[in-house]
């Protein structure tokens, strides 16, 4: 495994500032969880929205170091952005930035699946409240 992970993957893996759950309280929140059976990977994304922006984004993930590092990088990127930023394609750029092996594309795409589901939850629910979806 020597050389299997870039320095940035190692850094994000060791110190994932956005790992965990949203702090209690706050404005409108939503959580989604997606999984894929082939490798057993899971990604849970949670976000709170405020005036159409993602005021806080958190993740939990079950998977390899590349997936965990990508989830951390993803959350850091979209936090503070408009909710619609969740709909942008980010996985190809993340894979290049983190030097993720191409055979792990499938598990990283879980991030996009989760992000889209999360955006739907936040955009479709116009009333304040909490949503929690598993797919």
């Amino acid at each position: 495994m020597d050389g299997a992970y870039s320095d940035e993957v190692r850094r994000l893996f060791a110190d994932p500032a956005h790992a965990g759950d949203l702090p209690p309280g706050g404005s409108r929140t939503a959580s989604v969880e997606v999984s894929e059976s082939a490798a057993g990977c899971r990604v849970r994304l949670s976000a709170s929205g405020n005036a159409g922006r993602l005021s806080a984004v958190r993740f939990r993930a079950f998977g390899c170091p590349h997936l965990l590092a990508a989830a951390e990088a993803f959350c850091a990127e979209v936090e503070g952005q408009p909710v619609t930023a969740l709909l942008a394609r980010r996985v190809p750029a993340l894979m290049e930035r983190l030097a993720v092996p191409v055979e792990k594309t499938g598990r990283l795409l879980l991030l996009e699946d989760a992000a889209k589901a999360l955006a739907r939850e936040l955009l479709e629910d116009s009333s304040d409240g909490t949503n929690d979806t598993q797919t």
Partner: protein, 394 residues
């Protein structure tokens, strides 16, 4: 040991550091002590090299309580396994084309058997009992009139489970079936007395017992029935079974490693048992940890554990600088859950989280304690990241 060492090496089932005495002997050999000659040559340089090779063979034979003439040098255990299985099956094909092995064998055996299946042989793949041992009744029921070879490993490379070679071998002898044993994880680590064991073919490699990489041997019992076909053709070296110029310095290294192992076998085993117990005492209290493989018939140099809710590849990275393995080193690149642990009935989820710790002669209690603390820290770190649903999925 200081608080954060650069490396703690607990992957001796993958390979062991060569003993300094081995390195010294190999260096002296390469520097000219045993000459630079080709051991097949008849002139003085060749005879000098030949003498060094034969001294090494005698040292290895002494470790195994057999005659040096029963040993054939190979490049390692994988080649020895292939030579034994393919060589025996092909030579005896006119008598029958059925083999028996286990689902928990090393890939070197499993893939050789699978290759024979593709060539029209039939293979019975026996499942292990709950703790990893072979069910002898199942073995007896698997024998057929056309069975020619049984291949069962001595010590499992992932779990350390030890098979009963005597019981298996006796059943094979009763039926005039050859018995091959992959002993890569036991030679030099456990007593292997070939003068008393009913084994026909036995594979070994030097680098698992503090010898050099790139050399091993195949034992062939001195019985008329125990014959094999070569895989390679060329010079007449090694009784025409394994042609090719012998690597003198590597043979010298393996011989010295064997001599050291013979002198230290009991002491090393006690050392491994202490380390194994110490590590397990430290790990067993961590929530979700389970031990893979039974304790009663297990080589103490290996401890294999799984943990619910934690992904194995991430655990391996979080454990650094502790060097351990997820299952077999030879299977490390596949990323798939261990076939050995799945054969033991572990779920894919638990099998993928398995970590194999394996100890060596130089491993210290301080290193084991460090590994234990590091494992607990790694699990705590990953539990802050991984979702609770992953535990439920287990």
């Amino acid at each position: 040991m200081n608080a954060s060492p650069d490396m703690v090496y607990l992957d001796h089932a993958a390979t062991t550091p060569p003993d300094p005495a081995v390195v010294d002997a190999m260096h002296r050999s390469l520097s000219g002590e045993s000459g630079f000659g080709n051991p097949a040559s008849t002139h003085v340089a060749g005879r000098r090299a030949r003498a060094a090779v034969e001294q090494a063979r005698a040292r290895l034979a002494a470790l195994l309580h057999t005659d040096p003439g029963n040993l054939v040098w190979t490049s390692g255990a994988t080649e020895a396994d292939n030579l034994a299985i393919l060589g025996a099956a092909r030579l005896r094909a006119h008598r029958g084309r059925h083999l028996i092995t286990m689902r928990t064998e090393h890939k070197a055996v499993a893939d050789a058997c699978a290759a024979l299946e593709r060539q029209g042989f039939e293979v019975t793949w026996l499942a292990p009992e709950r703790h990893g041992r072979l069910d002898l009744t199942a073995l007896e029921q698997a024998f057929r009139d056309d069975t020619q070879l049984v291949s069962i490993m001595h010590v499992n490379n992932e779990t350390g489970v030890i098979q009963d070679l005597r019981a298996i071998g006796e059943r094979c002898r009763d039926r005039n079936v050859l018995f091959h044993c992959d002993a890569a994880q036991s030679v030099g680590k456990l007593p292997v007395d070939l003068s008393a064991l009913p084994v026909d073919l036995l594979s070994m490699t030097a680098h698992k017992f503090h010898g050099p990489q790139g050399i091993g041997a195949l034992y062939l019992a001195p019985r008329p029935e125990c014959r094999i076909e070569p895989l390679l053709y060329g010079g007449g070296q090694e009784r025409r079974l394994r042609p090719g110029t012998l690597p003198v310095h590597q043979a010298v290294g393996m011989g010295v490693a064997a001599e050291l192992a013979a002198a230290r076998l009991e002491e090393d085993l006690r050392h491994y048992a202490r380390l194994n117990e110490r590590l397990w005492r430290g790990l067993e209290s961590i929530e979700g940890v389970v031990r893979n493989g039974g304790r009663e018939h297990a080589f103490p140099g290996i401890l294999n554990v799984s943990i619910a809710g934690i992904e194995g590849e991430s655990l391996l990275l979080a454990l650094e600088p502790v060097c351990v393995a997820r299952g077999s080193a030879c299977n490390a690149q596949s990323g798939e859950p261990s076939h050995v642990l799945r054969a033991l009935g572990r779920s894919d989820h638990l099998a993928q989280s398995a970590i194999r710790f394996s100890f060596g002669r130089e491993t210290t209690e301080a290193e084991v304690d460090f590994a234990c603390r590091r494992y607990a820290q790694a699990v705590a770190h990953l539990r802050t990241i991984m979702p609770a649903t992953a535990v439920q999925a287990a």
